[in-house]
């Protein structure tokens, strides 16, 4: 469903991403790993339309999307989270989920002012969808709290829930386990697998937690200093000499 061919991104003299190719098929969990500063987040920024890539091709469901505005890409069904959580901190948890559903609600101003039946019905549906996902990620108790006051782990889960209410086809997670304790990481592991199994979402994952990555990935892409280093199943990647060298050299 997602095909990235020879993606490059240059910042002035720095070639942050150099000829990276990634492939995600339906109902697949694909990970991108690599040392700090390898260019993983930059790849995400190109895919989600925040940066205009300097080279390469990005196909989503057969359509070229490189250079398209971010909000259009998101509306096509490719939604991401951020390495540093980005919530609407002054809004409540449930409102965070309502904002994300603007495509499902009736945004017609007149309909909203008159509270037409269609407007009410859709507003109710989006509240129900929000309730469903809050329950799913275990945040129902804090639904009416301000998002900025949540514990870190809760914020992470809220960000994922906020993506899911948009009903994406491909979910892109940038280091979702960063800052989580082992128990929370375990929960996250189950959640991601369930997103794939129960909701037919493909997942593109950036993660440093190797046990998480090795456990759930169907395939792994390794990049180092912007260049692709290896790719394959977790088993193949684990045994790849270049990867071992890069990671040992890093550590």
């Amino acid at each position: 469903m997602l095909e990235v061919k020879n993606l490059s991104m240059r910042f002035g003299g720095l070639l942050a991403v150099d000829q990276v190719s990634v492939d995600v098929k339906e109902r697949e969990i694909v990970s991108i790993i690599g040392p700090n500063g390898a260019g993983k987040t930059t790849v995400f920024n190109c895919l989600s339309g925040f940066y205009k890539p300097s080279g390469g091709q990005i196909l989503f469901e057969g359509k070229e999307i490189q250079g398209k505005p971010d909000y259009k890409i998101s509306r096509m069904g490719m939604v991401r989270t951020f390495q540093h959580v980005r919530l609407f901190g002054n809004m409540t948890v449930v409102e965070n989920l309502l904002v994300a559903q603007h495509r499902h609600v009736n945004t017609n101003l007149i309909a909203g002012l008159l509270k037409t039946p269609d407007y009410r019905r859709r507003e109710k549906q989006s509240l129900e969808r929000a309730r469903y996902w809050l329950d799913r990620v275990g945040l129902l108790e804090v639904a009416n709290r301000e998002a900025g006051n949540l514990a870190y782990g809760q914020q992470r889960r809220l960000e994922i829930a906020r993506c899911m209410v948009t009903e994406p086809k491909l979910l892109m997670l940038d280091e979702p386990a960063a800052g989580l304790n082992p128990a929370e990481t375990k929960e996250l592991d189950y959640l991601i697998v369930s997103l794939k199994e129960d909701y037919n979402v493909s997942v593109l994952l950036i993660e440093h937690d190797m046990s998480l990555v090795m456990g759930i990935s169907d395939r792994i892409n390794v990049i180092s200093q912007g260049r692709p280093l290896a790719s394959g199943t977790p088993e193949e990647v684990r045994q790849n000499d270049d990867v071992i060298k890069a990671y040992l050299g890093e550590a």
Partner: protein, 423 residues
């Protein structure tokens, strides 16, 4: 540290001298056809010099002074209190608003004509401020040319009545929609600018509209303005002593009461009141609708909002257009109240006043905006002898406000949508 301060203070003092002396000290005197420059009187020179000394001393001890000023905020009895629970606060707010409106309904029958007239002006400013509040307070776009849309509304009514004989009620929606259209067309190219740049471009736009009105003499009458704008009618009843429009009846004759000039003023006031209440209600509703949430989301974290599929341009444009719509609304009422408009009424100062109301009131809060509108319009009237210093007082008030209560008189606390226990 100290040396640095002295340098800075000296610099500020010199700037004060350089700026104030030519402005205050030098006079252009016209003597027949010849214009010559006249030097300053001793008094001015001494005052300017003293001002520079004051600036110097203030800058030198600024940290101390500012620290003292911090005490003022502790004098505010409300400052340390915990915020009320949301439900209670929302209820209180509705009660207070309803109380204000009921009071406002009966009040004009017991006061002088002049007060009612002034109150109408306050209501017009409230409408303007509520509209600008959407743009600045809710969507976070600094618009310094808001008066342009006010002018579009006013001139639309004036021109429609002059050339096509439209009545107030027909012109009201047209004026508002045309202003909104202006907002839409102008917003489109400029809204991709950020912060200060947006402020400058909108400022320029406001001036362009005014200059256009001033110079398009064939259509707008230029600086002479347009007069004879009709007053609103009540179901075809006019409020003047004699009927101006064919087919209308006169209010006092229909009701069989004696003619009184107050009727007209009170009627206008009531119209302005009703329209202001409608404006407030609509905007309150917007705040709880998807569009209101989108404004807030985009203001809080633009990147996150875009990653969820919100189009920055569309969301900002909606705020800009809605703001312009209500400015057009207010403009139509203003034209009708004055009966005469000219570009003089739409100078930058008006934008500044409305913006000041929004900032003083606490961006996004409606009761705050209402109180600030009353304060900003009425205080200058009460202190007429200080009218020359109006801008000075204004500036001082804004500075004090920023030190004392940057969040405004009554900061906005939006009513959150709650998820009930069971769906």
């Amino acid at each position: 540290m100290a040396a640095n301060n002295i340098k800075h203070a000296l610099f500020c003092a010199v700037i004060t001298l350089v700026i104030s002396y030519p402005i205050l000290g030098l006079n252009l005197v016209a003597d027949g056809a010849v214009v010559y420059l006249e030097g300053a009187t001793t008094f001015t020179v001494v005052s300017v010099f003293l001002a520079a000394v004051v600036v110097f001393l203030f800058q030198l001890f600024r940290d101390d002074i500012m620290a003292r000023l911090g005490f003022i905020s502790r004098l505010n009895p409300l400052s340390g209190r915990d915020p009320m629970p949301q439900q209670k606060r929302a209820k209180l707010e509705s009660w207070v608003l309803t109380g204000i409106i009921v009071l406002a309904l009966f009040w004009p029958f017991f006061v002088s004509r002049g007060s009612v007239d002034l109150a109408t002006l306050v209501l017009i400013y409230i409408m303007l401020a509520l509209g600008l509040n959407v743009v600045v307070g809710l969507a976070g776009l600094l618009d310094l040319g808001y008066v342009a849309f006010y002018a579009v509304g006013a001139y639309t009514f004036a021109l429609l009545s002059q050339y096509a004989g439209f009545s107030f009620w027909m012109a009201l929606p047209i004026g508002a929609c045309l202003a909104a259209l202006f907002g839409l067309v102008l917003g489109f190219p400029v809204l991709r600018l950020r912060g200060d740049y947006l402020a400058i471009v909108t400022l320029g736009f406001g001036e362009i509209i005014r200059i256009l009105l001033n110079n398009w003499t064939n259509l707008t009458g230029g600086p002479n303005g347009i007069g004879g704008i009709p007053e609103p009618t009540l179901f075809g009843m006019e409020f003047g002593r004699r009927i101006k429009e064919e087919g209308n009846t006169s209010f006092h004759e229909t009701l069989g009461i004696a003619y009184a000039s107050e009727h007209k003023v009170i009627f206008l006031y009531l119209i302005a009141l009703v329209l202001a209440v409608i404006t407030g209600l609509i905007i309150r509703r917007f705040m709880r609708m998807p569009v209101g949430r989108a404004w807030e989301a985009l203001r809080e974290d633009e990147i996150a909002a875009r990653s969820l599929g919100l189009s920055r341009t569309a969301v900002k444009l909606s705020a800009f257009t809605i703001g312009a719509f209500f400015a057009g609304f207010a403009g139509t009422v203003f034209a009708s109240k004055q009966g005469f408009i000219s570009p003089e009424s739409f100078v930058f100062l008006e934008s500044a006043i409305v913006l000041a109301i929004v900032v003083l009131g606490g961006m996004g809060s409606q009761i705050g905006v209402i109180l600030a509108a009353i304060a900003v319009t009425i205080l200058p009237e009460l202190a007429r002898e200080f009218s020359d210093y109006r801008m000075l007082v204004f500036g001082a008030a804004m500075v004090l406000m920023m030190v004392w209560r940057p969040q405004g008189l009554l900061p906005m606390r939006r009513i959150h949508i709650e998820l009930g226990k069971q769906g």
